[in-house]
Each structure stands twice: as structure tokens, then as C-alpha cells.
Symmetry: C2
Subunit: 343 residues, 2 copies
Amino acid sequence: MAESNQPSRHSLRQPYLLFVGDVDLLAAAKTASGLLQWRPDACAGQLRLPGGVDLGLPDMSPETAAAAGVGTMVIGAVNPGGVIPPQWIPAILEALEAGLDVAAGLHQRLNDMPEIAQTARRLGRQLHDVRHADRSFPTGTGARRPGKRVLTVGTDCVVGKKYAALAIEQAMTARGLSADFRATGQTGVLIAGGGVAIDAVVSDFVAGAAEWLSPAAADDHWDVIEGQGSLFHPAYAGVTLGLMHGSQPDALVICHEPVRDRLLSVDYPVQPLDRFIEANLAMARLTSPDVVAAGICLNGGRMSDVEIAEAILRVEGETGLPCCDPIRHGAGRIVDNLLRLVP
Amino acid sequence: MAESNQPSRHSLRQPYLLFVGDVDLLAAAKTASGLLQWRPDACAGQLRLPGGVDLGLPDMSPETAAAAGVGTMVIGAVNPGGVIPPQWIPAILEALEAGLDVAAGLHQRLNDMPEIAQTARRLGRQLHDVRHADRSFPTGTGARRPGKRVLTVGTDCVVGKKYAALAIEQAMTARGLSADFRATGQTGVLIAGGGVAIDAVVSDFVAGAAEWLSPAAADDHWDVIEGQGSLFHPAYAGVTLGLMHGSQPDALVICHEPVRDRLLSVDYPVQPLDRFIEANLAMARLTSPDVVAAGICLNGGRMSDVEIAEAILRVEGETGLPCCDPIRHGAGRIVDNLLRLVP
């Protein structure tokens, strides 16, 4: 159950019915496709309006989904401007009437739409606006806590930090380790079924929210924490640093796109990897003095198999760290190194 | 006028009537005494309830104050828990009725108290909850902008960053320079009559808020920006870094208390000054490649004249930077160095 006075701490009932609306491109249904890729077992069916893209899941009405045990309908498509178009509203109301909660990662809040909010309240359903958070966290303490934690850090935004963390969790689970993906962005929260959109937290509470997100755990448990922003991004480095300090990572995994030399959204260069790694470790040592760099995940989405293989060899030679494209190769070699470095 | 949809961007009508309520200790009226110290010309009078401390200002009723041209009544006292006690409410309503706006830097919002909020709305008055901010800022761009900027950075919280910035502004103004104190905390906002409580801004927008706070200016204009937190504080370093990146400082002034070797609120050491300065400059270079350290303000509040003099000589010897206790000595020597280093 979501804690209604703490909307930043989302906890979603799975499995999901994925709502793709009337968007006809898979790219516009990226929340749905990300869920399907990383949590296929959590995706019970799809609900399409006329013209909506087919994800390959069983088509279900909200009533059918509720009868099949679905807990939450996830708005899996994005609409220009991040708003919920009028033609989606009847399906959302129908889902609430059928007994489902509804979750969305859009700028516009479900809770701000009177008809939806009133219907949810009347029926006792939960509305999850996972992009949003409030200030209901304590400030950070910096106190050391047990359990192992690895944080993905990126040389830019949108460079694969979430995918890297999911691939690491997947490889750990495949080795029989106890591991949890800890989500810090809206898509990650939907995939994990919980977490906090860290960039929506009031700045004073970011480190505290990160401490809450990856709490004290058994000595052999791994929390694999999704990073945000970049320590060298002029808009978001503060978010990155607060998340890093609160996470107290035993290890960092660096995420990087070899063919990107300028940041995506601002006129700044991507830092050289050696300098980037050194600076991230230096800042992380404040709350985790023995932190190490355990590997590098390259984003090869715009590279051929040959190009990414060459990039991996070059980066491994330059840094001495195991390197992979987690989408192509998984993160097994990085997990091996994590287990070696953080015994 | 405050922008009602942007409560984080406060702009207050001066002069002020300082409300001290019924608190009988000057320490509990520290907002009022800070205003009186740094903006005596903005303080037209005081309003005391029975038992309230005497600031030495003319006693004024709200009606008298309004007739004398006062724009805003400032709640200048703090009450345990940061709440507004019931016995203060009649005076607040009276001020609104008399034509004054009302400003407070408490945790409890004036805007959340129905009787006060309704009265203000009915009369068209502004309520300024300067501790609070919303997300109504753009994200940062990191684009270079003209004008000169100096940011105070501290080895801990509550170490004198606001006083250092005010002393620097005062010394600049005394030299005939064009300078503005840029407030980033609630007391600073009241002193400056505007600014933003940066630690209340949603983390994604901190750098953007700092860019807004110290905008492009004439080449010879100085913005003197109040720092927040510390780059080596496990709870607040992200706030510090976002403010630093958005501020694009040409120079840093370091604030430090020599007799403090542990942070106040968490179990962490105060960093050695040389390491602290080097790390702050390294991080600031992202958005301001030529940033320099221009001086050190020591907080000598718990030290004798002899002790602070010895500390100043020692720190100057260790760092090679001009050093002062701004409360005792003003910041003139640091301003001289700023003008030499940032021509």
C-alpha cells in the first residue's frame, strides 16, 4: 500500500495492466516496453485504445485484468507535453471502477485531475504519480549501515544508469545472490514496484531519501541503486551528489556512451573517463571511505557490434576495469569484479 | 510584489515592522536582531506583546506603522517547534487589516493558517513564507553570464556564511562598488528583501534557482551570494554543489570556525582547510573554470580577541589567503583581494 501522506515513497501492487492509449509507436510507449523488458512477469496484459501499439501481451479489459489478479494499471505511454489526453480518461476511470490502482510517470498528476482523484477517493483506490515526491523524508545522517550497495553513475543524463543497475541486479540474482534494484526515477519506480523519484525531492532531503531507499540490510545483501544526473552536469550535479552521499556505495559502476562527447541538454563536454572516475570516487569517499570503481557499462545503442567491441577493449585498457554493454552482454563480468572487490 | 504562483521567489516591501511577540530573550528574536544589525534602515519599528524583548526601536501599532510607510510586518521571533502560537495571531490579523503584508521564516506556513490566509486574500495582502519554495524554476543551463559573483562556502552549517556575505557586500558598498547580497536562506531573504530559500527548492531545480538568483549583470557589478550547507556535509553537500554550479562564482570565500573540529549535527570531522579549499575549487571549476579562493572568514564567536588574532595569523600562514573575523574586523581585506584577483 502506498502511504498516502508520503507520496514520494511509492509501493505499487503488481502485476500490472499496461495501458498504451492510442500511441502507435513503440518509442512513445517506452515506459511499457521498459517494464516488459525488465519485469515480464509483472506484466499481465495490455489495454489499447483504437490505434494503440501492440506490445504482444494479452489484451485485457480492466474487469478481466482485475479478475486475473492485476493490482495496478500503469500508464505506459507518453503524450507530448506529459499531459493525460481526454480520450484516455474513460479507461482510467474504468480501471478504478474495476478495482485497480492506477500509476503514471507523467508531469501531469493523476491526483490533480478532479474526476480521477474523486473516483479514486470514492472507491478507495491508490493513484501513484511516481514522478512526484514531497518532502516527507528526514535529512541525511551519514551514519554507516550494514549491507552492500552499488550505485551507477553516469558521464551524462540518459546514458544507461537504470539499465546498468537492472542488468547488475539480474546478473546477481542469476548467481543466487540476494539483490534489490533500488529505483530513483519514475520508470525505475514502476519497474521496481517502489522507490522514490529522487530529482523531485526537496534538495535538503535528497541524501535522507537515499538513505531511506537503501536501508540497513544483511551483510551479504546487495542494493543496486539507480543513479541520476552526473557529477559533471551543470544542472543536476547536486542531485547526483546527494544521492551518492545518501547511498553510501561500496562500489560505483560507471555508465558512459563512447560516441557522445558533449552533454545532451547543455553545452558542456563529457569528461574523460579517468578524470570522471577519480572525481566520483573522491566525492563518494565522504560517506563511504573504502568505495571502489567496479566496472564500466558502455551504452552501445548507436554503435555496431564491431564498434562496441573495440570500444570495450579500449576502455578496459585505459581504465583497467571490466567493461561491457549491459544490453548486449549482461553485467556478469562486472558482478564478478564486485564480488571480488567487496567481499 | 510577490509572484503568487512562484512563492519561492520572494520580494518583500520594505521598511519593516519587527514583531517580536512575547519572547523575552534576544536569542529567540534572532531574525529581528539580524535584520536590525544588517538592515537598520529597513527597520522602522517594533511591535511587542506583553513581555516581549525591547530591540530599541520605536514601538508601533500596525496602524501607526502603515501610516509611517511600513510595507511588511516581519515575524522576527522564533517559537519552539517553529509554529505560530495562538497569542500571536491577533497581531498578525491586525497588521493585515492595517494594510501591511506579513512575512515569516518559520516551519509553519502563514499560508496554511486558514484565518490568516483568508484575511490576506480578502484584503489583497501578501503572505511571505520565506522558508518555503516550490519548483517554479527552470533547470540550470550552465551558460556563462556577465557580472562578477562571489560565493561564501563553509566547512560546516551555521558557520557564518550569511554574515560573511553581508560583511563583504557592506565593505564593497563602502568602497563605492555596485554590489548585491543574494540571499539563499530564510533570514537572508528577510534581510535582503528578496531571494530564495535554496534548500526548499526541489533538487532538480537548485542550480536553475541559483542562476535565477544571480542573473547576468554589468561587468563591474558584484553579486555576493550566501552559501548553504557544506561540500563535506553528508546531508547537505548536494544543496551546496547545486548552488555552487548555478552561482558560477568568480571567487569563493571560505567560512570556518577554528574551534570546531566535528560537524554540528552529524558525526563527521571538519575537513582540513587546504583540502577543503582545493575540493571546493575543483568542483566549482565545472561552471566557472577560472574560479579562485579570495579569502577566509573565521567565526570567532567562541574565541577571545587574542585567540582569534592567533587563529587569523595561523590560517593566513597556512593558506596564503587574507583572513578575518567579519564581525570583529569587517571584510575589507578580503574585498581588496577580490578586486585584485577578479579585475
